[in-house]
Amino acid sequence: MVGQILAVVIFVAMFVLIVIDKIERHYVTLGCGLLTLLLVFGLCMHSTPAIVETLNIQSIFTADFWYAAGTSEEVSSGINWETIIFVAGMMIMVEGMARVGFFRWLCMRIAKLVHYRTIPIFITFMVVSAVLAMFIDSITVILFLAAVTVELSQLLKFNPVPMILAEVFCANLGGSATMCGDPPNIIIGTSLGFSFFDFITNTGLIAGIALIAVVIYFYFAFHSELSGGIAGKGADIASLPDPKEAIKDRKGFVISCVIFVCAVVLLVTHSVTGLTVSSIGLFIAAVTVLTAPRHIREIVGKVDYKTLLFFVGLFIVVGGLEQTGILQIVADFIGRISGGNAMLMAAIIIWFSAFASAFVDNIPFAATMIPIIKSLAAVEGASLATLSWALSMGTDIGGSATPIGASANVVGTAVAAKAGYPIGWGRYCKKVVPATLLVLIIATVCIFVRYF
């Protein structure tokens, strides 16, 4: 009982400290993780096996961690090293791509292809945002897209805010489509043994339908604001920057493109090849650094190690809740209020996850919910896959609703504000909340129709 109370207190303190943002969030989760190990597992439970299971280091030394022949299985609880290694690998690849100017080139190339006309840029950037976010973290996608959007807005004289809002939303939507698109999906996939193919044929399908609806919605929501640009009305297109200027290292650019294509192919086929996402992450990282030996320090130095440490601490704190049975209590509660009705359970998970993710970081939320849906599936007999898709769509899409819900929103609004276009909560929510509700309704209907 004391252990349970302590685990909850540490978990709540972690959330509060993350929100207050006085201490960097990786220190918060690592500190809270250490307290969980010492106080919950050590002092209250006197359980060395709980500590070993939560640290989960032994999993790295098993063959299944690197190569899973046949169907993937659910991994044990505790630190999800597969997620951490994969995220680190992808970060290295993305840094390699950013170094050679890939993202800026892509954005400029697309703008040139549509002859720098504002509405076509608006629509193509939404689609590009969604497609890139399927494979690359949404923070990087938005960092580059929003920066290019601001640059183009100054040259073409349009307000970049509508475009940035739409790009942010589509990045979150694209992230929901694949296993590697958004951190909650990586954690769900690696923890519950789903493949890239499982995601793309389930959440990917929902995201695809939703993307069409969202592009239409944003077009009608913003087209009047965006029709005022000078492009296509006598603007001197020749004076606009040439996409080729964005490429900083021609050879490196080609290599980066090849590595990116390899990463996509390996991810799409990983359920067939048996390679786990940790192997893919490690391989991609190794190839990136080995093909750019002179830039190893620069590429590795830019890796966001704070996020990786944040994951480590977070998994330990959630492990504390799991080992003390708190998450089981929450699962039992959801089971009771849904009366064992799987349809209602899925609806609760998608809408509750969406609401929570709109206000709190969706990564710790998803990590906390995974043991809950696992338990719901085991006790109440609901389909684990269906609950997982509901959790994925809820956390990924719900995060779009407010400026603080997901990392892409924070970065997008920060880039806009830095360029002198502050986006307050009112301006943000007025246009994005309806889009969020629209996608959540589409997702709920798709889940109901397809799985029940």
């Binding site: 929100v19 207050i20 943002d21 923070i139 960092l143 966001d304 704070k306 996020t307 970081d361 400026p403 603080i404 990392s407 929103n409 924070v410 970065v411 609004t413 920060a414 880039v415 504000a417 830095k418 002198g420 502050p422 986006i423 307050g424 909560w425």
Partner: protein, 201 residues
């Protein structure tokens, strides 16, 4: 050509610090930057000064903003950073000016032309000043002083390691209640002149 001079004036609400800063700017014949700094930034970057003013010297709302990989979407934080960058830019260009608030004593710390001042006052003197200036009751003035100073403290301490009003962060801390605004300005003027002379030696 006269040597560069930068005077940063931090102040308690109701202490007359702003008025003292204006007097010093006049006596040294240099421009003064306070909330007008926003206009300068807005003009130089073609932005809307009114929207920016809403977030000027406001502490960050922790519940309504977040930071990701060093990017904060707190509008008051972004605006604060914009002002800090602009102050640094002015200083690096060799301009002389008086700057009121905006954490200038920390932003320009170690700049050889900087003289940093903190103006405080007794509560009674602040109440008298604020109630007269705003034509409000004594209790209203007291509440206003407490609230404004709390905001200034939170704003300052958010961005600076040293605490707001801590004498170790400033060259001079002075209580304006003792001498009144004009004479406090006289004392500060003499001090600044001595500092300028010392630099010229």
């Amino acid at each position: 050509m006269a040597k560069q001079l930068i005077i940063s004036v931090s102040r308690e609400f109701g202490s007359g610090g702003h008025e003292i800063a204006e007097i010093l700017a006049k006596r040294f014949d240099i421009p003064i930057y306070d909330s007008n700094l926003l206009e300068e930034i807005a003009n130089s970057k073609n932005l809307d000064a009114d929207t920016m003013e809403k977030y000027d010297e406001k502490p960050k709302n922790v519940l309504l903003s977040r930071r990701v990989r060093g990017y904060s979407n707190s509008l008051s934080e972004v605006l604060a950073q914009m002002q800090f960058d602009y102050i640094r830019e002015l200083a690096n260009k060799g301009e002389s000016f008086v700057i009121v608030g905006r954490c200038a004593e920390t932003v320009l710390k170690n700049h050889e032309a900087l003289v940093s001042i903190f103006v405080l006052a007794d509560m009674e003197s602040k109440i008298a000043r604020v109630s007269k200036h705003n034509e409000i009751s004594r209790s209203e003035a007291e509440a206003m002083i407490i609230m404004q100073n709390k905001k200034r403290k939170m704003y300052h301490n958010r961005y600076c390691e040293g605490k707001w009003g801590d004498s170790r962060n400033y060259d001079v801390c002075i209580n304006s209640a003792g001498l009144g605004v004009e004479r406090t300005a006289n004392v500060l003027e003499s001090y600044i002149k001595e500092r300028v002379l010392l630099r010229e030696e």
